[in-house]
C-alpha cells in the first residue's frame, strides 16, 4: 500500500498554501492537497462499509438471496471486478500510448484531430451499447467484456496522450534531432517527459472509466459486482442490490482515490511551479 507515503507530502503542501500574506494563487488547476483531504475519503469509505456490514447482518435474507450471496460469491464478484478493472486499464494503456505516439509522428499527424479530439464522436457511443455489441458478436464472457471495456476507454485516454505529446516544445525535439539523437531517444528523452502529467491523468481517467464500465460487464456475461446489482433488480432482492451497489461505489471511489494519489506521487517535480 502506498498510503503512508503522503505524510511527507501533504503537510508541506498545506504549509505552502497557508503562508500568511501570500496572494491567492491565480491559477485554478492548482489542486490543493492536504493531509485531511487524503485521509477523509478512506475514513468515510470504512464508515460506509461498517454501516453496511452492520445493516446486512440484521437484514433477513430469503433463500434466493442467500444462495446468490453464499459460498464466497460476493468476494468472488469483487475480485473479478478488480481484475477486470486492472487488466482493462493495462490493455487500454498498451493500446493508447503507442497509438498516441504514432498519431504525433509525421505522416499520421493529420489524422490526430479526428481520432483524438476531446469532443470526438467516439465519446457518444454508450458503454452498454459497446459491451452488448461485443457480447452478441463474440458470445458473452470475460474476454468479450474486456474488449468492450477497453474499446470504451481508449478514445479519451488517447486524447490525453496526444495532448501530452503535443504539450512539449516542438523546437526542443527539433533541436535534439539536429544534434543527432535517434528518433527513439528524442521520443523517450525529449518528448515523453513533458507528457507524463497528462498521461498520468489519462491513466486515472482509464481507471475510473473502467471500474464503472466493469459494472456493466455483468450484462455481457463478464461477472463483477454488476452481477449483484442486476440480480437484485431482476429478482427484487433489495439486500443483494444494496450490497452490490455499496461495494461498487466504495470500490470506484477507492480506485479514484488511489489513482489521484498515484498521479500526485508520480508527477515529475517541477520546483518553479510551486514557488
Amino acid at each position: 500500500m502506498t498510503a503512508p507515503e503522503p505524510t511527507g507530502e501533504a503537510p508541506e503542501r498545506a504549509g505552502d498554501r497557508g503562508l500568511p500574506g501570500a496572494p491567492p494563487p491565480p491559477r485554478p488547476p492548482a489542486r490543493p492537497v492536504t493531509w485531511q483531504k487524503l485521509t477523509f475519503l478512506p475514513a468515510v469509505l470504512v464508515g460506509v462499509l461498517l454501516v453496511t456490514w452492520l445493516w446486512f447482518r440484521r437484514a433477513d435474507l430469503d433463500p434466493v438471496s442467500r444462495s446468490v450471496l453464499a459460498g464466497g460469491q460476493v468476494s468472488g464478484a469483487l475480485w473479478r471486478h478488480v481484475g477486470l478493472t486492472v487488466v482493462s486499464t493495462l490493455l487500454v494503456l498498451a493500446v493508447a500510448v503507442p497509438l498516441g505516439v504514432l498519431l504525433t509522428r509525421g505522416a499520421f499527424r493529420g489524422a490526430a484531430p479526428a481520432v483524438a479530439a476531446p469532443g470526438g464522436t467516439g465519446r457518444v457511443v454508450p458503454a452498454i451499447g459497446l459491451l452488448a455489441l461485443v457480447a452478441v458478436w463474440l458470445g458473452g464472457g470475460r474476454r468479450a467484456a474486456l474488449i468492450g471495456i477497453v474499446a470504451y476507454a481508449v478514445p479519451p485516454v488517447l486524447s490525453h496522450v496526444v495532448a501530452g505529446l503535443n504539450a512539449g516544445d516542438p523546437a526542443a525535439a527539433e533541436a535534439a534531432r539536429r544534434l543527432g539523437m535517434s528518433s527513439w531517444d528524442v521520443l523517450v528523452r525529449v518528448e515523453l517527459p513533458p507528457a507524463v502529467p497528462l498521461i498520468l491523468a489519462g491513466v486515472r481517467t482509464a481507471l475510473v472509466l473502467n471500474v464503472g464500465t466493469a459494472t456493466l460487464a455483468a450484462f455481457a456475461g463478464g461477472g463483477g459486482l454488476g452481477v449483484l446489482i442486476a440480480t437484485g433488480v431482476a429478482g427484487r432482492r433489495m439486500p443483494v442490490l444494496v450490497l452490490g451497489s455499496v461495494l461498487t461505489v466504495v470500490l470506484a471511489l477507492l480506485v479514484d482515490w488511489l489513482a489521484s494519489l498515484a498521479e500526485l506521487l508520480l508527477r515529475p517535480r517541477d520546483p518553479e511551479a510551486d514557488g
Binding site: P24, P28, P32, K37, L41, G119, T121, R123, V124, V125, P126, A127, I128, G129, L130, A132, L133, A135, V136, W137, G139, G140, V208, V211, G212, T213, T215, L216, F219, A220, G226, I229, A230, G232, V233, R236, M238, L241, V242, G244, S245, V246, T248, V249, A252, L253, V255, D256
Partner: protein, 215 residues
C-alpha cells in the same frame, strides 16, 4: 435479414423508443442544469465551498451510474423515479463544476464594477456574473447531456422504456437472429440522440454568444 431490413420493419418501435429516451433525458438535463447553476451560485463567494463542490463533483463522477441507480431503487422504488433521480444526479457534477469555475473565473472585478454602478445583488448576479460564466456553464450542460443519453440506456434495465430497452432485449437472447440488429439499433439510436443534443447545445451557444459576450 439485414440491419436495414430490420430497421425498416421495426422503425416505428425504434422511433417510439427514441422519443421516450429523449423525453426521459431532456427534463433531467434541464433539472441538472438548473440545480448545477444554483449550486454554483451558492458556492461562488466562498473558496472553501467552491472547492467542496469541485471535490464532490469529481467523486460523484467516479461513481458508476449503475450503482447510483442501484442505491436509489430501495429509496424511491422501481420504474421512472429512480431513473429520473439517477440521471439528474449523474448530470449534476459537470454543470456544477463548470458553474463554479465560470463564476470564479470572471473574478470579482465585473461584480465590483457593477456594484459601483449601483446595481443590486440580484441584478449583478443575473446581468453580469451569470452571463460571464455562461459559456462555461453551457459546456458543462453539453457534457451532461452527452453523458445522460448514455446513462439512460443503462437505466432502461430498471425502467422499461427507451433505446436501452432495445439493447437489453438483444442481450436477453444473444443467440437470436435479431439480437445484433436490436443492439445495433439501440446503440446507433443513442449515438444519434447524443449528437442531436450536442448540436442543440452548440446552437444554443451560438444564439446566446453575442449577449453573453457584451454583457
Amino acid at each position: 435479414m439485414s440491419f436495414w431490413e430490420y430497421l425498416g420493419s421495426r422503425h416505428q418501435q425504434v422511433l417510439a423508443d427514441a422519443c421516450r429516451h429523449a423525453s426521459t433525458v431532456f427534463p433531467c438535463v434541464v433539472a441538472a442544469a438548473v440545480l448545477g447553476v444554483l449550486i454554483g451560485v451558492v458556492a461562488r463567494r466562498s473558496e472553501r465551498a467552491g472547492d467542496l463542490v469541485t471535490t464532490a463533483a469529481s467523486a460523484v463522477l467516479a461513481v458508476p451510474p449503475l450503482a447510483v441507480i442501484g442505491l436509489l431503487v430501495p429509496v424511491v422504488g422501481l420504474g421512472v423515479p429512480p431513473t429520473a433521480a439517477a440521471l439528474t444526479l449523474c448530470g449534476l457534477p459537470p454543470v456544477a463544476r463548470n458553474a463554479v469555475a465560470g463564476l470564479r473565473g470572471a473574478g470579482p472585478a465585473p461584480g465590483d464594477a457593477a456594484r459601483g454602478a449601483g446595481m443590486s445583488r440580484t441584478a449583478r448576479l443575473v446581468r453580469v456574473e451569470l452571463p460571464a460564466a455562461w459559456p462555461s456553464i453551457l459546456a458543462g450542460v453539453r457534457v451532461s447531456a452527452r453523458t445522460l443519453t448514455g446513462v439512460a440506456a443503462v437505466a432502461a434495465y430498471v425502467s422499461g422504456p427507451g433505446l436501452g430497452h432495445e439493447i437489453f432485449r438483444g442481450l436477453a437472447s444473444p443467440d437470436g437472429a435479431e439480437a445484433l440488429h436490436q443492439v445495433l439499433a439501440g446503440t446507433l439510436g443513442i449515438v444519434v440522440l447524443a449528437l442531436l443534443f450536442d448540436a442543440a447545445c452548440v446552437l444554443l451557444g451560438r444564439l446566446t454568444a453575442p449577449g453573453g459576450g457584451r454583457a
